[in-house]
Symmetry: C2
Subunit: 193 residues, 2 copies
Amino acid sequence: MVTTDLSNFYHFYPSLAVVVGVKSGAETNFMTAAWHSGVSHTPPLYLVSIAPKRHTHDLILSAGEFTVNFMPMEELKITHGCGIVSGSQVDKINRLNIPLTDPLKIASPVIASAYAAYECRLVHQYPAGDHTLFVGEVVAAHMDEGRLSERGILDPAKINFTMYQGTNTYVGADAESQRIVPRDLDELLETES
Amino acid sequence: MVTTDLSNFYHFYPSLAVVVGVKSGAETNFMTAAWHSGVSHTPPLYLVSIAPKRHTHDLILSAGEFTVNFMPMEELKITHGCGIVSGSQVDKINRLNIPLTDPLKIASPVIASAYAAYECRLVHQYPAGDHTLFVGEVVAAHMDEGRLSERGILDPAKINFTMYQGTNTYVGADAESQRIVPRDLDELLETES
């Protein structure tokens, strides 16, 4: 089916649901984001796309920094909860009982129950339709190293990833399905499909 | 563990591996991308982050358009294969036997074995470290509607998603783990964890 009706814009899920944190002056807030990505290796840059109507949007502009917190499925109440209420009306840290840990390089807090987190200094802000692209340089990374595989990458057998599927729906990864494939084209074409 | 050594920049995986297509003049090419996201609802905008050294980078600049193809795990040879060789040296369409289908609104081809695909017109190009952010307006969407759930979103029981985990490693989604949660904070806090 081919359509130009994009009112339901969901085809690109699942996407990891992350929690973006920011401290601006005396105010600290967290929001859920499914629109984000690494975008550069050197320097390491991370992008989050946030609508101007979000309370977090102007907090990031004034603070010039943010954190990105990668949450396991066990913390779904925090992850989803940060997306369904506004920090302008609810103190999410108290209401959701979000455990915090000290950042190393910036003032914005990191969530203690994340398996990984980035501290980012804002380096670009670009308009993109009804959202703003915030690009942050990752100046410090937090990682629960017990969650890594022997090959030094995140191990789906040790982390219940929280992937957003759209419409209040989340799904995890299937560790059993993991496949490691060769980087050589001839070898790749010889593998079982 | 807290570190400022980001030489290994992998903490944000898994991310859906997609195949970006472009036709510029007589040349058509495809490349794999793990750094991409929806970034705006109205208009619907899709972002891919591509290094200038990639052959596809300048093809997108000259064509002013691209496609984003969402591939099932069954097509891993195509998905991974497009990422390990350059279109400057290998005709990927012939070598990987990529099945094409006609686009509706642009000239760049769509992969027939994708479960979903976007046709994008380039509307922004922004620098981001060692990559360029290409932001395209989605002018048409292709979707195999038999893969949708009764709730009208992608069904992990009907699609083997191809999620990149870093270091030539892929993982699928665990349909059994799917959770639908309430949008009301009080209800959410009352759910079993």
